[in-house]
């Protein structure tokens, strides 16, 4: 477990990090280091330069304003899981963060590092897609934002450009009458999600007025399930089961623990259970 030789640079500001990125070809940004360092130890990643952005306080923190929550990219999973702001305005994100790894991993790992790594078994991506969150990026030429649904492009591939830093994510706060839930089917070895189902429903006057379901782990990127059939229903168990069974994946992921077919099946079961939990919280 000895990485190849690399240079280490620590950035004192976002601007310095951006210029270090420009100066060093194939450099990698490191936040909590919980995805990058294991890859380097296995020599699956051999960046010549590691730029440590872990101490950039400007990228840390959780706030709420004008009906949306903002989470800095260097905010740790532990801080997200324990956040009062999120508990009040977007508890499903905190719920998902609490499922990541163990206490040590949650104390070091960050939301930005997590989604930039884009592991298909990560707990955060399906929740961000469900919420319709936006991912904010900064480069020497300015800032831009991209919808979470477009951000995750393929296995370990995202929309982050070579000269960009992920600064924060923003998600709409959950309104009154909306319940959401994240349920995880955990891999016994890695602790990643074999399947992670994120669901939200809005109920007004006993009738569903909006519903969403996004399932992680089944495909390279989060899979959105069309559950619009629930709108107008009373969210009966049968209606929920029928809606969740719409999960489809063309080329599901499989490994020695869980085949693709089985993942799709569990995705439907966990999708159903997540919708029911969301209904019970609405």
């Amino acid at each position: 477990m000895y990485p190849a030789q690399f240079d280490y640079r620590r950035a004192g500001s976002v601007d310095e990090a951006l210029s270090l990125l420009q100066e060093n070809e194939d450099a990698k940004l490191m936040a909590g280091g919980h995805s990058l360092i294991p890859m380097m130890k296995l020599r699956l990643a051999q960046p010549p330069v590691v730029i440590d952005i872990g101490r950039l306080d400007e990228l840390k923190g959780i706030s709420e304003a004008n009906g949306s929550v903002r989470v800095g990219s260097l905010t740790t999973h532990a801080d997200i899981a324990a956040s009062d702001v999120l508990a009040a305005h977007c508890p499903v994100l905190a719920e998902a963060a609490g499922h990541i790894g163990d206490a040590q991993v949650r104390n070091r790992g960050t939301i930005g590092g997590n989604i930039a790594h884009a592991d298909p078994g990560s707990d955060i991506p399906p929740v961000l897609v469900l919420l319709g969150a936006s991912v904010h990026l900064q480069s020497p030429s300015g800032t831009r934002s991209v919808a979470a649904g477009d951000f995750f492009q393929d296995l370990l591939m995202t929309d982050v450009g070579e000269d960009e830093i992920l600064t924060h994510v923003e998600a709409p706060a959950l309104g009154a009458g909306t319940g959401a839930a994240y349920l995880k089917f955990e891999h016994p070895a890695s602790g990643y999600a074999v399947v992670g189902a994120a669901a939200a429903v809005t109920v007004q006057g006993g009738r569903c007025t909006g519903a969403g379901l996004v399932v992680g782990g089944v495909s390279a990127t989060p899979t959105t399930v069309d559950v619009s059939s629930l709108v107008g229903t009373d969210l009966s168990d049968d209606a929920i089961a029928a809606a969740a069974s719409g999960l489809d994946a063309e080329d599901p992921i499989g490994d020695i623990f869980a085949s693709g077919d089985y993942r799709v099946h569990v995705g439907k079961v966990y999708g159903k259970r997540a919708l029911a939990a969301a209904r019970d919280r609405a």
């Binding site: 000895y2 190849a4 089917f185 890695s190 020695i256 089985y262």
Partner: protein
Amino acid sequence: MARVLGTSIKRREDPALITGRGKYTDDLKAEGMAHAAIVRSPYAHARIRGIDTSGAEALPGVLAVLTARDVAAAGIPGVVPVGWLLPDLKTPAHPMIAADTVRHVGDAVAVVVAEDRYLARDAADRVAVDYEPLDAVADVVAALEDGAPAVHEEAPGNVAFDWEIGEREPVDTAFASAAHTVELDLRNNRLIPHAIEPRAVLASFDSSTGEMTIHMTSQNPHVHRLLMTLASLGMPEHKVRIVAPEVGGGFGSKIHHYADEAIVGLCSMKLDRPVKWTATRTETNLTDAHGRDHSTRCALALDADGRITGLRVDTAAAMGAYLSTFAPAVPTYLYGTLMSGQYDIPAIHCHVTGVFTHTAPVDAYRGAGRPEATYVVERLMHLAGEATGLGPVEVRRRNFVSPDAFPYQTQVALAYDSGNYGPAMDRALEMIGYDDLRSQQASRRDNGGKQIGIGFSSYIEACGLAPSAVVGSLGAQAGQWESADVRVHPTASVTVYTGSSSHGQGHETTFSQIVADKLGIDPEAVEVIHGDTDLVQFGMGTYGSRSAAVGGSAIVKSVEKIIEKGKKIAAHLLEASAEDLEYEDGSFRVAGSPDRALALGDVALQAYLAHNYPDDLEPGLSATSFYDPANFTYPFGTHVCVVEVDTETGSIDLLRYAAVDDVGNVINPMIVDGQLHGGLAQGIGQALWENAVYDESGQLVSGSLMDYAVPKIHNLIPFELDRTTTPCPHNPLGVKGVGEAGAIASPAAVVNAVVDALAPYGISHIDMPLTPEKVWRAVNA
């Protein structure tokens, strides 16, 4: 003096370990130390056409690159031997470094030594090996098929040995007239031991003296020294010192002599410098001897009353690419001999084929043969309960060896010295609330949804390895005693030198309790030294749940000699006859004259200040003993597991786990409970999660902890433990051993519970590990 045997005094080992002051092999540094990295085959089977080391040698800081050519040039034996033999065993050579053929992924082909370990690793990547890949076979059944790729020319059909125990004909007769028969094809999944501390070695050769000190992760330093000097390095045994510093778990994997440690020794000899190597986790997974990996067909015959009349077992047991130290003994002497379980079985036949495969070697891993045997017997008993309609409790009870039948001679060589199986099961049923659980199960079955199941495992094990007389008679050509040197110092404190070698078990605590109890002194006055061939007389080491029963008994034997010697000294000092002296509560007393007494301290002091002893009395107060047990010890018990199965996904939740074990007398209940907890975690791990998987080309696809699921604390539940006590009648402590019991009993209990939960689905068997997908597919088949 209060009794110290049977009390949970805290482990004296823990303060250093908990505060991070324990020194493990990788913590050690030596002046001028260099670092080794081993170049390993990426192929399961290939011919080596050539090795170009020039790219590695060109890197500044690289000190040496050695291949098989250098082993040959060194004029040393250069092989890794098998330690235990069977009749007609094929023993193809296992070269320290592969010369022309590699036989598993991870086989060593070269070693690089450099000034630091990063550089060594960089250089290892630059050793260019030209391989001609050959067909490989990793699966134990496929390896026996016609035309399977041959692992060794010397072993046609990949058969390492063909072994049987018991008699075939009486079994055939029993099956021919049976009222009920049950049969099963099962796999016992391959496991990777996963000691938290990887294997490591620091070899320091000094050409000025010709001596080499090797610090290494060892469960048995003297055995390692013997094999290392005799078969690998060809050094005189007295010139090599092997030290096991703190060792972070072994579970068997650090019994064996591996190529890597010998390679590092050779590097140190070549360079005349200390050389260190610590396995990476990947190397650990590829090269530590694995456990289990059986394919078995087995069947049980019963009469109309549900009494067993015959048992038939046919097993193919993987050996891997080479025969590891203990390997042939595991699926034979420690497996076939256990097939009678707790039951009176009049006819048993067990046939085992040892099979070479293009994989890591397979050898002893916690339980070693006995978990596999228990799994066979207890899975069949579950099926017998169903087939006879008696259920799992009654079919077992009806077949238990009766308490008045001991000593009980089984049909498979072992003679059980003692036992009383009914009370352990009764207690387990009481703890678990059996009748209530059955009614809960019935209502779940009526209502659908998650199902619950109750599984039993009434196990026996043979531990205290190994009585020379018993295994010798089976052709083992080896038996195992243990040694103890106990020295009483002039101030009456005591140092014990034990041949067993603790690697986490707490010997320093428990052995001090034994001495303190026998001498009537404070345990704090006893120091325990182990794990150093220069300090300690030859010893066999720690494995097979032997340290208390065999090592502890050797200590008792020495203490008894010391008391006898002390009586002679006291008699001389008190001007009494030694026959009239008794030793009690730390004092030698003349029987019938309570005021004529000397404390141990007075006697010990005089033992060393002696100036007027009679001719037949030597000074000093110490004694060395070698204790060879008369028989194995036979711990037993009944474990009950309760599970909940989510039939929609196939996932399994543990609800309860109750274990009633009879390990004989208990020295330290806390340590015994801890051993059970660890064993249960590993046994439940085997049943539910752990699996070493090779693909068809012989690549280890579960080679990392991202794919190989070692149980973690949140996967488990609080265990409910209790004990019955049937002391071992043939050792002085009445102890039996507990290190492996949890791992032996629990796989069958868990699988029986899951199968019980799924009985309404017509499921009678699922192979371990019971992953959710397998369970779900069985439910939906």
